[in-house]
Symmetry: C2
Amino acid sequence: MEKRATIKDVAEAAGVGVATVSRVLSGGSASASTRERVLAVAAQLDYRPSALGRNLRQRRTGGMGLLVPDLTDTFFGQLAEGVLACARSAGEPVVIGSTGDDPEQESELIGMLLEQSVDRVIAVPSGDADTWGPAIRAGMTVVFADRQPAGAQEPAGGSAAGDLMLLDGLAPAPPARPAARPLEVPAVLADDRAGIRTAVRYLRGLGHRRIAFLGGPGHDRRVAAFREAVGEPVDEELIVFATGSRDSAYAAASGLFQSRPDLSAVLAGGNVLGEAAVLAARELDLRVPRDVSLVMYDDVPWAELCAPPLTVIAQPGRDIGYRAAELVLRAASRRPRTVVLPTELIVRGSCGPRR
Amino acid sequence: MEKRATIKDVAEAAGVGVATVSRVLSGGSASASTRERVLAVAAQLDYRPSALGRNLRQRRTGGMGLLVPDLTDTFFGQLAEGVLACARSAGEPVVIGSTGDDPEQESELIGMLLEQSVDRVIAVPSGDADTWGPAIRAGMTVVFADRQPAGAQEPAGGSAAGDLMLLDGLAPAPPARPAARPLEVPAVLADDRAGIRTAVRYLRGLGHRRIAFLGGPGHDRRVAAFREAVGEPVDEELIVFATGSRDSAYAAASGLFQSRPDLSAVLAGGNVLGEAAVLAARELDLRVPRDVSLVMYDDVPWAELCAPPLTVIAQPGRDIGYRAAELVLRAASRRPRTVVLPTELIVRGSCGPRR
DNA sequence: CACTCACGTGGATACGTTTTCAAGCATCTC
DNA sequence: GAGATGCTTGAAAACGTATCCACGTGAGTG
């Protein structure tokens, strides 16, 4: 940075004290004449207050942190765009990190945010309560987006979650805890349960009985919803997991198709898994939807480009991000509660009657 | 933030001065015994230096800014992942902004970075020299990625670029300027010229004569390369532009197909445009590749999912981001020069012989 | 032994801002 | 007219760090 005018320069040029300049610029009280003069001088000097000084004084960095698993996944791209849109309208900077769905990397990134004194973060979490506990205890305002940490869905019971409690919004009010008051973390989620249920019913309606689920990291709630929607005797072999990578997703999909040629429909828990399913099916000469029906979680632009176009459960990625950013910004005044956004089954061409 | 140990606490606990602690932690000289003691105390107190204090002292924020047009575009997602990977390995934070391909928003974001004293930024620029001049004059180290500002390709001639000069790497050495030494901005680019040329030759080889180009914001170099590759009498109606939005891209593609039913091949300048072309072709009942051949710039995962799979010009998005981040980090020691990364024509199924 | 030199060390300062505090001044009230 | 009240104002004190500078100590050199 070459050198910019400081508040001191403005004060001198306007013939007032620095305190007055600060007040005028941050909306404090000042006489009309002084205000006018200060504003004029500031404009003339092209003065822009340095965030550095302010941050140090307030012992906190403005703006917010954003942690997502992978920006290459279109859904997280949408989510990030939502966050950025909200941040922009608030004039706040966003520092971003990509966790690769790895709790360790996530932990490191949290450490980095802590070091930067970024005390507001919206995250698509990969780690569990052990990862997030320290951050929250350190005073961070965190809002989860799209998911909640694993194992934290059931507030009751002596879970390993320890002092981390999540506001589920779906679960009943938590029982009073004996010892310390648990920390509460709001979240912005899609209504996975309804989305999955609708999809399963739709497939059922087409005659499908052997429906498989392709899950990825963070899809716990979707799997649970799937189990619930399918009903009691769920064939465990039909539920398959992959890690975040595309290779892993492809392997999982391919393995599933090969080991269970009797399945007639697949529900992919995310767009990367959907992509893998399409690829694997084609590789194995399975026709969609003649041989196998496919429903994908996430609506992404290319779903329409597939042949046939993919039937999807759309979740509002951009809205999720925007709302989460709103929550984290408002957290200072209003204690935020978890919000659940609706999903929508968009029927295109990838599902047919059971052959 | 609750409250953390400061360098002062460490100094007291270790019985040394703050200066010594600072030196030990930033790798300065110190006796082995002191170093050991300070380190031990720091670890025991869980001391983490505050970026706030350091930033203010050094009058600059660490890390780097990243400005991209749209995170929903997979290519920019890849690019961002590359930047983040490099930043992570350097332990540096990244503050991100999405410009929406709008110079005005870009300008605002630059202002925000300036305010944050972020003095290193890697950008996929939307604005021109007028947008970037102020930032560079203010002392920012900027590296362009994927594109260069419009109108800045020809260093020679009395261009409106003013004092902003770009290191093209492809252009001959710039002539000596009369007045002030021009500012130089390095860039990391894909070899558009070679990529486009190869694609055009490939299409020519298949017999295509009427090849259209679908361009978007920032595709100037690609258009130029297209003109060059096609040769002298270029049919201007076959070169069509869209703004960054998907709607606009679709409109452009659809309009092109309708106004020029005689074209036999389309070269889409980016993946959003490719997507639009596929959609528009389908809507108009044009079969790919029977009725029209299609080549898309950018290799994205879903290119393979299309029916038929899309022939693409692949550019290494992730590498571009990574290299750009490297350049901007090294800029302090080594004066960076523009680097051009290779592209590759990946032939799949979207091109056929002219009907 | 005197002198220099290198090195480890800590005090002090500056970075640019917000905020507290008390002082100054005009107006209002009794 | 004296006291109280309200508003505007500026000096000063933080915030946590890096760095300049001066000081002391030990070793090395003539």
